[in-house]
């Protein structure tokens, strides 16, 4: 989806109830373009999430973003048998998987998202996963799917 006309107000409204503010707008603009951005320090190269305006390592304010390719490993894995309501999430049909994934190309930087197209045995700590996207309220949201591996 190309979103050159997406105003700040549109972004805030369409990603509610997520907190889109001055610090995180660039992160969610990335989502709208199916691009997973993480904060990057142009002085020392440090990368981190969530978006904050200063590099915690060198205190540079010269921060921009880099786009992650999205391959990673499940670091934390939770199955929600009940939880907050969301469009497309029906806890009565089975638990909803929520994983925290650490990116292979940015060790220590993690994103929490659901996992799609997974068999039960894929929903475990240590599973290799890749980034994908799904739509909610007409807007792209990140998710992971098990990486095809030679079995």
């Amino acid at each position: 989806m190309s979103t050159p006309t997406l105003t700040d107000a549109d972004l805030v409204e369409r990603y509610a109830p997520l907190t889109v503010d001055k610090d995180t707008a660039d992160f969610y603009r990335g989502w709208a373009e199916r691009e997973l951005r993480i904060r990057h320090c142009t002085e020392c190269g440090h990368t981190w999430l969530p978006f904050r305006p200063i590099c915690p390592r060198c205190w540079s304010f010269a921060v921009d973003h880099v786009v992650v390719q999205g391959d990673g490993t499940v670091h934390l894995m939770m199955l929600l048998h009940q939880g907050p309501p969301a469009p497309g999430v029906d806890y009565t049909t089975g638990p909803y998987p929520v994983a925290t994934v650490e990116f292979a190309d940015h060790p220590g930087v993690r994103l929490t998202a659901t996992i799609v197209d997974a068999r039960p045995e894929d929903l475990v700590v240590g599973r290799a996963v890749s980034l994908t996207w799904f739509e909610r309220n007409g807007m792209p949201h990140p998710a992971f799917r098990p990486t095809e591996v030679t079995r």
């Binding site: 939770m78 048998h81 929520v98 220590g108």
Partner: protein, 389 residues
Amino acid sequence: MSTRNPLKDQIAIAGIGSTGFSRSSDVSGLELLVRASVEAIRDAGLTAADIDGVVVPGEPGGVNPGVLATALGLPRVTHFARPVPVAMFSMLDAVHAVHSGACDAALVAFPYLRLPWNSRSAANDPFRRHLAHGVQAVPESIAMAPAYAAWASRYLAEYGVDRDGFGLVAVNMRSNAARNPLAAITTPLTLDDYYAARMIREPLGMLDMDLPVDGADAFVVTRAVDAPDVGRPQVVVHAITTGLVTPNDEDQVPCLDRHSQHIVLDTLRAKSDFWIDDADVVCLYDGFTVITAGWIENLGWAPPGGTADFLREHWVAAEDRVLVGGRVQINPHGGSLSEGATRGSGHVREAVVQLRGEAEGRQTPDARTALVCTGGFFFNSQGLTLRRA
């Protein structure tokens, strides 16, 4: 790291009060709060005119310190604060206020209410409808409570263990609660019951989570030299601290070997003249079972992942609970899992009761020292050592 501790043994927890805890109270949060407060002030041998500090944590359904001061008719207050929830933020505020001279006698009062989002009966109570404005979360987040289920998955995978350690924590708390008249739930619990309980956020289920209750705890904090002699041993704060690792976002915390509990324990140990092996009373937070496992292991009682083996080694089968070294109870009051979800004020109160020698059927003989660790892994880890003066 500051190892200074100029308040060591100077500040007393001179009064305690508690309503006890239930899942069916129909009085207001304010009434619970004032009942516990009046009991604590009288217990300290003081009156309204003596109380010039008021600290009330910002619990959902709680009140501002000004409301409590007005309800109690406190004539003159010079220190008041509304710290974020979890016990030691408020205790530490009061201890510092008294030590610095901001006030002479601080009332610290903790309100707890079942809320529409954690209790079905509360959701049906019209008088609690105004409490329904929680932060709207999305499923794809581990912020706040879900973080403990997420990190429990890491614990189980990284250490290659089953949930027995978590289950034994839950069983221990229930067995202890049976000896505590303030406890909300005392029906016996087995490890089989634990495993049979409904999953909520797998790998954690109903019995890994603390019990939403109505009730209140209150404390009066003074200088030890100012505390009236009411004919019982005085309990003094030996050391108190909080700890914060970075990053502390729930999904970015470094690892199970490096989170906020480690900072608390390093600091508390450096400020204290005694440590775990010399603690007669040990209260460890159990808002989720995995938090207790974290404290047990980070205190050095067990190696990483070793909570189940440690609890089994010290398990007293006849009492269905743990007595470390045949003597030291963990949460003699039953903890947040079974006394009720007090966010740690119950743990502080129990330590005081034990050090006074007033714990009756659950009293540790000749208890002189206590170690209390409250909060979890991220932004509310805290520690306290107490001693009988």
